[in-house]
C-alpha cells in the first residue's frame, strides 16, 4: 500500500510541486522536481524538515544597533523559535566580520550561527 505526500519545493524560486511516494517508511519515488535539489529537498522534508534561520542580534558600537545573522546550515524546523530566543539574549561588540561565529552549536544542532555582514565601529 503506497501513500503520496505533497510538498512545495523551497530550493529555488521555481517552487516545484513535489510528490513523495512511500510504502511504510520507505520512499519509493519522488516526482515533480525540475532538478536534483528538488529530489534532495523532498526526501529531507519528508523525514526531517529543516530551515535556515535568519534574524538579528544586538550590537554595540556599530553604525546600526542590529547585526544580521544566519544559521550556517538548515536546522530542524521545530527549533527555529528557540534558536531565535537564545540569539535575542546576546549582546555583541563591533567590529564584527562577515562569517564570524556569533553562537556555536545552536541548541545542540551542531550548526553555528554566523554574521551575514561586517559591521565596523561607528
Amino acid at each position: 500500500m503506497t501513500e503520496t505526500s505533497h510538498y512545495l519545493c523551497i530550493g529555488c524560486p521555481l517552487g516545484c510541486r513535489l510528490e513523495v511516494e512511500t510504502e511504510g517508511d520507505e520512499i519509493i519515488e519522488v516526482r515533480g522536481q525540475s532538478c536534483k535539489r528538488g529530489d534532495t529537498f523532498a526526501r529531507q522534508e519528508h523525514v526531517d524538515p529543516r530551515r535556515f534561520v535568519t534574524t538579528t542580534v544586538a550590537i554595540e558600537g556599530a553604525p546600526w544597533p542590529r547585526l544580521p545573522v544566519a544559521t550556517a546550515e538548515a536546522i530542524p524546523k521545530h527549533l527555529m523559535r528557540e534558536v531565535c530566543a537564545t540569539l535575542h539574549t546576546l549582546r555583541l561588540e563591533a567590529p564584527v566580520e562577515l562569517g564570524d561565529v556569533v553562537l556555536r552549536d545552536a541548541h545542540g544542532t551542531g550548526v553555528d550561527v554566523v554574521a551575514t555582514r561586517s559591521l565596523g565601529r561607528r
Partner: protein, 425 residues
C-alpha cells in the same frame, strides 16, 4: 563601514550612476569594464547596498554567485567588487536633477550642492512601495499603518518591533517575509489578506513564511476599513467578487494593533520624468534599448527603476549591461542599432528591453498577465519554446539567440504566451 567617500568630486566623470543599490553597484562595475575611467555612484543612504541591507533572509545570489546568500552578504560581496574597480561613491547624497547635456546636480552633506558633468548617466533609483493612500483604504488615520518594507527596516536595521498583533494586506514577497520575521521576533501575525485569487509572492515564501508558522492566507479578500483613534485597534476585511469588489455583507473584523501593506512597488522615476525620458505606461519605467539606453542619448537605466524584478541576480545582470552600455557610450563606442521592437502580445504584460537586435544574444524579461500551465512562449512565427508554467508573480527570462530570429525581417516581433495545446495545433 570604512569611509569610502572622496573629499573632492571630479568636475567630470565618464559615468555617473544615480543610486547605490544592487542596480547601481552592478552598473558601476559594468561601466568600468567597458572602458569608463572615472565612475561615480551617488547614494542617498549612509552606506551603499540599497534594499539588500534590510533583506536579511536568504534567496540572493543563486544565479550570480552560485550560492545562496542573505541580502547584506550579497551587498557586501558586490561592494567589494565595486571597490576593486576603483569607483567613487558619495553617500548621504541626493541627485536633484539631470539635464539633457548630462550635467548632474547633486546635494551631499560632504560636498554641499555640486554639479558634475557626465559622459553617460545610469538611472538606478530602484522603486518605492505603494502605500495605504495608493489604494485609498477607508477609515481613520491612526499610528500603526505602514508599508511592509518600512517595517522591515525598523525590525532588521533599527531594532524596533512595530507592533504585537499584526495584519498584513497583500501577499507580495516583502509581506510574506515580514510575516515570518515578526513571528520570530515574538509578534503575532493574525493573517495575510490578498485581493487576488492567488498569492503574489514566490511559492517558496508562502511555504517558509506562512505554512511553517500556521499563518492563515485569505485569498480574494481585502481590508475595507481601518479602525482606531491613536493606534490601530482593528481592521475590517471582506471577500471580493470576480470584479474584485468587496462583498460588504460578508465583512468581518480582525483585532490588531498594526497593519502592514505589501501591495507592490512603483519604479522611482521622478528624475527620468523631469528629464523627459519616454516611459512605458505598463511598467511605468523608461523604455529601453538592448543596451538599456533610454530615449535620451547617453542616459541608461536599470533595475527596479525600469521594471520590478523578483530576483536581485537579474537586477545585477541587467545593470551590468546598462553600465557597460554607459561605459561604451562615454568612450565613444556605439553598438549596432536595434532593429526589432518587442511587442507584448497574448498573455504578456511587459517585455524588457523594448527593442533588440538580430545580430547578438539578448536576455529578455517578460511578465505574464495570467497563470498558464503547461504553455508555450512564442516569438512571432519564428520561434517557440515550451514552458512548464507561468504565473504573474514570477518573471520569465528568455535568452534570445540570433539563430531564433533567422528568417525574421519585420520590425515588430509579437511575444505571446499561449496554452500548449493551442501552440501545438
Amino acid at each position: 563601514m570604512p569611509d569610502l567617500q572622496p573629499w573632492q568630486l571630479e568636475r567630470r566623470y565618464d559615468v555617473v550612476v544615480v543610486g547605490g543599490g544592487p542596480a547601481g553597484l552592478a552598473a558601476a562595475v559594468g561601466a568600468r569594464e567597458q572602458g569608463a575611467e572615472r565612475v561615480l555612484i551617488v547614494d542617498r543612504e549612509s552606506e551603499p547596498g540599497g534594499i539588500l541591507q534590510q533583506c536579511i533572509h536568504h534567496g540572493f545570489g543563486l544565479h550570480h554567485f552560485k550560492e545562496e546568500l542573505t541580502g547584506p552578504a550579497y551587498a557586501q560581496r558586490y561592494l567589494e567588487r565595486v571597490l576593486e574597480h576603483d569607483v567613487d561613491i558619495v553617500t548621504d547624497a541626493y541627485v536633484l536633477d539631470v539635464d539633457p547635456t548630462r550635467r548632474v546636480s547633486l546635494l551631499s552633506g560632504r560636498h554641499g550642492r555640486t554639479e558634475v558633468d557626465a559622459g553617460a548617466v545610469v538611472l538606478a533609483m530602484g522603486a518605492r512601495e505603494r502605500t495605504r493612500e495608493a489604494i485609498r483604504i477607508p477609515g481613520t488615520r491612526p499610528a500603526g499603518v505602514m508599508t511592509a518594507g518600512f517595517a522591515q527596516k525598523l525590525v532588521n536595521m533599527a531594532g524596533y518591533l512595530p507592533g504585537r498583533r499584526v495584519a498584513i494586506l497583500g501577499s507580495g514577497d516583502i509581506g510574506l517575509i515580514m510575516a515570518r520575521r515578526l513571528m520570530l521576533e515574538g509578534a503575532e501575525v493574525v493573517g495575510v489578506f490578498e485581493l487576488m485569487p492567488h498569492a503574489n509572492g514566490l511559492t517558496r515564501n508562502v511555504v517558509q513564511c506562512l505554512h511553517d508558522f500556521d499563518i492563515p492566507l485569505h485569498l480574494s479578500t481585502t481590508v475595507v476599513r481601518i479602525h482606531g483613534h491613536d493606534r490601530v485597534d482593528k481592521v475590517s476585511v471582506a471577500p471580493v467578487d470576480e470584479a474584485l469588489r468587496p462583498r460588504m455583507a460578508e465583512a468581518w473584523e480582525v483585532p490588531c494593533d498594526t497593519l502592514l501593506v505589501s501591495i507592490g512597488l512603483i519604479p522611482d522615476n521622478e528624475l527620468a520624468r523631469a528629464l523627459g525620458v519616454r516611459l512605458d505606461p505598463v511598467t511605468t519605467g523608461p523604455v529601453v534599448t538592448s543596451t538599456m539606453e533610454t530615449s535620451r542619448d547617453g542616459v541608461f537605466a536599470c533595475g527596479n527603476t525600469v521594471h520590478i524584478h523578483d530576483l536581485v541576480d537579474w537586477v545585477s545582470q541587467e545593470s551590468q549591461l546598462a553600465g557597460g552600455g554607459a561605459g561604451a557610450f562615454a568612450s565613444g563606442r556605439r553598438s549596432s542599432a536595434d532593429n526589432v521592437r518587442l511587442v507584448p502580445g497574448r498573455n504578456v504584460r511587459s517585455c524588457v528591453p523594448h527593442t533588440i537586435t538580430t545580430d547578438r544574444e539578448h536576455t529578455v524579461f517578460l511578465r505574464v498577465t495570467k497563470s498558464l500551465a503547461p504553455c508555450s512562449l512564442r516569438l512571432g512565427e519564428v520561434y517557440e519554446r515550451p514552458l512548464r508554467y507561468v504565473v504573474p508573480g514570477e518573471m520569465v527570462t528568455l535568452k534570445v539567440r540570433p539563430r531564433f530570429l533567422q528568417g525574421f525581417h519585420g520590425g515588430n516581433l509579437h511575444v505571446d504566451v499561449v496554452p500548449r495545446e493551442e501552440a501545438a495545433a
